[in-house]
């Protein structure tokens, strides 16, 4: 069956450290993968998109990797700050014109 798995437990890290979040999937062949941030009581906000032919993408303190052989994406936040605390969702393109399937998300808590 098709499945998207993100770290089920919350990730607690110290300010200044690098946070690494994982997104694994099975039985999908996405053309691209996206990461979104969601704060409590708000809708998800787009962060990064990485395509199947790209290994890595960066935006400021954010970095995403995409390994289609391992069927895994890693999302890194360097020099993390308390303001980075949120839920991070990965979303896979499943074709049919911009149809996304979302993982359950990982809660990140950055402590000062």
């Amino acid at each position: 069956s098709q499945k998207i798995e993100q770290n089920s437990e919350a990730l607690n890290i110290q300010e200044g450290k690098t946070a690494t979040l994982t997104c694994n999937y099975t039985n999908y062949s996405p053309a691209y993968l996206q990461w979104y941030r969601q704060d409590p009581g708000r809708g998800p906000v787009f962060l990064l998109l990485i395509r199947e032919n790209e290994k890595e993408k960066r935006k400021e303190r954010l970095k995403v990797t995409f390994d289609t052989t391992l069927k895994q994406s890693l999302f890194h936040i360097t020099a993390s700050q308390p303001a980075d605390s949120a839920t991070y969702l990965c979303a896979l393109d499943v074709g049919y014109g911009n149809k996304l399937v979302f993982g359950a998300g990982t809660i990140l808590r950055v402590k000062s």
Binding site: I4, Y32, Q34, G41, R42, G43, P44, V45, F46, L49, L89, A91, D93, Y96, G97, N98, K99, L100, V101, F102, G103, A104, G105
Partner: protein, 111 residues
């Protein structure tokens, strides 16, 4: 530029009552999505519109849910009658290309 607007933000109803949610997407965005998000889960697609046409409603429970997008702009999602299990956050999103822009959602509680 204004983002995706949804109303109401919160709704509490008794089971078996009807409820409707409204969404105004970002101007110029042809694609509109309705998602349902349960606590601790990611958004799940209910229906997707390209302009006025519903191009993917495979996950919409059609016995009680209905949606429309008149004139290819605003959209309404309706539940009639509501059940206890419908309690969730209903998110609307719009897109021009791959990136989706979400509204704040409507939090529905069915008692």
């Amino acid at each position: 530029e204004a983002g995706v607007v949804q109303s109401p933000r919160y709704k509490i109803i008794e089971k078996k009552q009807p409820v409707a949610f409204w969404c105004n997407p970002i101007s110029g965005h042809n694609t509109l999505y309705w998602y349902r998000q349960n606590l601790g889960q990611g958004p799940e697609l209910l229906i997707r519109y390209e302009n006025e046409e519903a191009v993917d409603d495979s996950q919409l429970p059609k016995d009680r849910f209905s949606a429309e997008r008149l004139k290819g702009v605003d959209s309404t999602l309706k539940i009639q009658p509501a059940e206890l299990g419908d309690s969730a956050v209903y998110l609307c999103a719009s897109s021009l290309e791959e990136t989706q822009y979400f509204g704040p959602g409507t939090r529905l509680l069915v008692l």
